[in-house]
């Protein structure tokens, strides 16, 4: 039960009716509390994390990742890299779609053509085209093998495939593009029972499921009868549902609610290192941020440890640079900008930044508390820093356009690295002209290293290049480096054989109930 000290509730003097929680009859069913409903059930037609999580339980991909983020074959039995620009996949036999149709190499070719070719979706192009980079064509070598041909080398292709689910080409013919939005026919562990718009996606166990990836233990059909992804946008309501036993798993559990969930009888907290790097992007083109001493001073000024311990309750790993410790080619020997207020003031004075200079941290409402904490801590240097809340639809595009961000100072944001590979984060965010390069950082050496690494086949040499690039970035400090937060989940104690994954997928295939 929630701690006795919740004075508000007892002070209301609520009549002490025993908590007669209406125990709904519990079929073997797991409910997940989501912040948002799926936008569509057509895997090729969205760019949304919640939609991805929901669809992934009904549809499998050519490859998948295990709980430790290792890339393993799923629909493909095996895969190999033929040359720098070609990959080959052998299709597992005996896989059936929910409609009963057999899955063949033709379905895989159809799926990736539909994703990559322009106008392939009833005259419109799939919004996911960008996720597959230089993939040009998918060829059927024979009825059991498929080859993906790229326009130029792209080492992280396998890392991007787990997010592309295979569709049944006959289903598209049957229901058409519009029908695909609401009537999916996947080959995943669950099949769609009902989609109550805006409320819940209800899935039933697919008995004839081929079992999924053999490299992840306990292959075979799902072990629960139903999986329900329930939409509850408000954090407090989602937590309340977990505590009241109405949902079994909730994502995005605020750090402040961890103690309450841990203390509860029927739920516990589970954490996993996330893949999203948080940073305060400094407008390198605008004085005083064009002076590296100022950027370093700000890194020294911010007491990251205080925020991590007090606000995030220790659920984040402080970062010295851009990469996550779990990622490929992480450089552990980068020097740290230790919290040193005196040094920060000295550097600011040296750079000629007057006391009381006004600076603004732009961010969205979701990060308001963190932004205000950072502003307060940075203000200890004598600068007057404040946070400004913007609407997401306005802020992101504004900071991606050099002209529109000319007047801005700082931007608290983050960048996901689901592939845990520098190419998926350093290129868009730190290479000159990268679409996520809100800081406007431009360093010839870093650009050279990143471009070379893109096409370098030897993983060892590729890793060295990325490590040298990370060292330069940290030394130039285009950002205030923050942390890598853990993804925090509230999980009912009765849920077993499930733990959160870094790529924030909630895969209920192998879940069991106590």
């Amino acid at each position: 039960m929630p701690t006795r000290r919740s004075v508000l509730l007892s002070s209301i003097g609520v009549l002490a009716a025993p908590g007669l929680a209406f125990a709904q009859p519990r079929a073997r069913e797991v409910r997940v509390g989501m912040a948002q409903d799926a936008l569509t059930l057509d895997p090729a037609n969205h760019r949304n994390r919640e939609t991805e999580t929901i669809i992934r339980n009904m549809m499998d991909g050519v490859l998948t990742r295990d709980a430790d983020m290792r890339i393993v074959p799923e629909i493909a039995e095996s895969f190999r890299q033929v040359d720098a620009k070609t990959w080959e996949f052998r299709v597992r036999q005996g896989i059936r779609f929910h409609s009963g149709d057999a899955l063949t190499a033709a379905d895989i070719k159809f799926t990736f053509d539909r994703l990559v070719k322009d106008g392939a979706m009833g005259g419109q192009t799939s919004p996911r085209k960008g996720l597959l980079g230089p993939l040009e064509d998918t060829v059927m070598a024979d009825d059991r093998t498929v080859r993906m041909v790229l326009s130029d080398p792209w080492p992280i292709l396998p890392a991007m495939l787990p997010f592309q689910e295979v569709v049944n080409r006959r289903q598209v013919e049957r229901v058409g593009q519009e029908g695909m939005q609401t009537r999916p026919d996947g080959c995943g562990p669950f099949k769609l029972a009902e989609w109550r718009r805006g409320e819940a996606v209800i899935m039933e166990r697919f008995a004839e499921y081929y079992g999924g990836s053999t490299e992840i233990p306990v292959a075979g059909p799902a072990q629960i009868d139903r999986a329900i992804f329930r939409v509850m946008p408000e954090n407090s309501a989602r937590i309340a549902a977990l505590l009241a036993g109405e949902v079994d798993i909730i994502s995005e559990l605020p750090a402040s609610a961890m103690r309450q969930v841990e203390a509860s009888r029927n739920a516990q907290v589970m954490k996993v290192n996330g893949t999203r790097t948080f940073f305060v992007s400094l407008n390198n083109a605008k004085a005083p941020f064009n002076d590296v001493r100022v950027r370093r001073a700000l890194n020294h000024a911010l007491d990251k440890a205080a925020i991590i311990s007090r606000i995030l309750a220790g659920t984040a790993t402080p970062l010295r640079g851009v990469m996550s410790p779990d990622a490929f080619a992480f450089n552990p020997d980068i020097p740290e900008y230790a919290h040193d207020l005196a040094r920060a003031r000295a550097l600011l004075a040296e750079a000629g930044v007057a006391q009381g200079t006004e600076m603004v941290i732009d961010t969205t409402a979701a990060l308001k508390e963190i932004a205000e904490a950072i502003a307060a801590l940075l203000s200890r240097t004598g600068l007057r820093v404040r946070a400004q809340i913007w609407e997401g639809a306005v802020l992101g595009p504004m900071w991606q356009n050099a002209e529109r961000r000319r007047e801005r100072d700082m931007f608290l944001t983050s960048w996901g690295n689901g592939a845990l590979d520098p190419s998926d984060i350093m290129v868009p965010v730190l290479r000159t002209g990268g679409r996520g390069n809100s800081a406007g950082f431009s360093n010839a050496e870093v650009d050279r290293l990143l471009d070379a690494a893109e096409t370098e086949a030897d993983q060892g040499r590729r890793a060295d290049m990325y490590k040298r690039a990370q060292a330069i970035v940290t030394e130039q400090a285009p950002w205030i480096f923050l942390w890598l937060p853990q993804d925090i989940y509230g999980v009912a104690r009765r849920v077993q054989n499930w733990r959160p994954q870094a790529d924030s997928r909630i895969n209920l295939h192998r879940v069991r109930l106590a």
Binding site: A17, L39, G123, Q124, K129, E178, R197, G198, S236
Partner: protein
């Protein structure tokens, strides 16, 4: 209601609908933030892909043309494709509409059921401590931010006492065939008592949160209207005829006192319909309100335009019904 009066009323609504669609069109298209940029937020889309998507969605054409296209289609009931759901806007709205209407009706009925007794007692016992306490209690309703009160109710009745569910429209192990889309009605049609109970239990907290401010407003209208009627000659005359106090109160006084209440209730239903976004968000209620707010933040133009037009039409219809009710209840005003 003579036909000419009917036509005149309908003609009056056209400028309103035109005005509303113009405002919403201008408001959302002039708002900074471009849906295409949002849709391709952190993808690797090249500028050509962005331009292609913009053309697909028809965003590259000049403003006046887009507005006329919107109006033309709206007349034929085609509201275009929702950017993010990639499905006809009308389908997306139609799926979420019953939930919003059911919640709004539950809220307004609850408000009326609370407001009339509260208002009558306050009027009969005017200027006594009962009147002042009831007025304070009813004002209590209008003085609370909806989301705060909603979360409080959830923590109290759902978590602590477990009497009511935290949110959503019904429990998942119940399957009711969809006839009207209104769960309460469908449960009754299907004769399923368990489904009806589940639907009502899920409706309770959101309806209370949404309905309370309106209950406060209506209680005040009932109080002042009833107080006025009680000082009228015909109430004195009715008592002089020897009718029982209760009969005078409930038959003679209440019938006249409720005339203004009904019209206010009809108009309030309109504002409730358009104002339940916050409650729908807090209770995870799959209504249109929440969808519209999410669509504005995502700059989903076609959906917002269609939804706002729908609200305007409903408002105009409710205003119209308010007039009809006023004349029906009020023999003196025969149009």
């Amino acid at each position: 209601m003579s036909v000419s009066r009917l036509l005149e009323r309908l003609l009056q609504t056209l400028p309103v609908l035109l005005g509303v669609s113009l405002i919403v069109f201008l408001m959302i298209t002039l708002t900074p933030g471009d849906p295409v940029e949002i849709m391709l937020a952190d993808s690797r889309a090249t500028p050509e892909q962005a331009a292609q998507l913009r053309a697909d969605l028809g965003l590259d054409r000049p403003l006046p043309e887009r507005f006329l296209v919107f109006l033309g289609n709206a007349l034929t009931g085609d509201f275009g494709i929702s950017f993010f759901h990639r499905r006809p806007v009308w389908d997306v709205i139609a799926e979420r509409l019953p939930a919003t209407i059911e919640l709004t009706l539950a809220a307004i009925l609850l408000a009326i059921a609370v407001a009339i007794p509260l208002g009558v007692i306050a009027a009969v016992k005017r200027d006594t401590w009962i009147d002042r306490t009831l007025t304070a209690v009813s004002l209590f309703g209008v003085s609370l931010p909806g989301f705060w009160f909603g979360i409080l109710l959830i923590l109290l009745f759902a978590v602590q006492l477990g009497i009511f569910p935290v949110g959503g429209r019904t429990s998942f192990d119940l399957e009711v065939t969809r006839v009207t889309g209104f769960l309460v009605l469908d449960s009754i049609i299907a004769g399923r008592a368990d489904a009806l109970l589940a639907a009502l239990r899920h409706l309770a907290l959101p309806a209370i949160t949404l309905g309370l401010p309106t209950a406060a407003l209506l209680a005040r209208v009932v109080r002042s209207s009833m107080a006025e009627v009680l000082t009228s000659d015909y109430v004195l005359f009715a008592e002089a005829k020897g009718l029982s106090h209760r009969r005078v109160l409930l038959r003679h006084a209440l019938k006249n006192a409720l005339i203004p209440v009904v019209t206010v209730a009809a108009i309030e239903t309109g504002s409730l319909l358009g104002g339940n976004m916050i409650v729908e968000t807090v209770f995870g209620w799959p209504g249109l309100g929440r969808l519209v707010v999410e669509s504005i933040f995502a700059r989903n133009y076609p959906l917002v335009q269609a939804a706002v037009l729908l609200y305007a039409v409903t408002y105009v219809m409710l205003n119209f019904t308010a007039d009809l009710l006023y004349t029906a209840l009020n023999p003196k005003v025969r149009l």
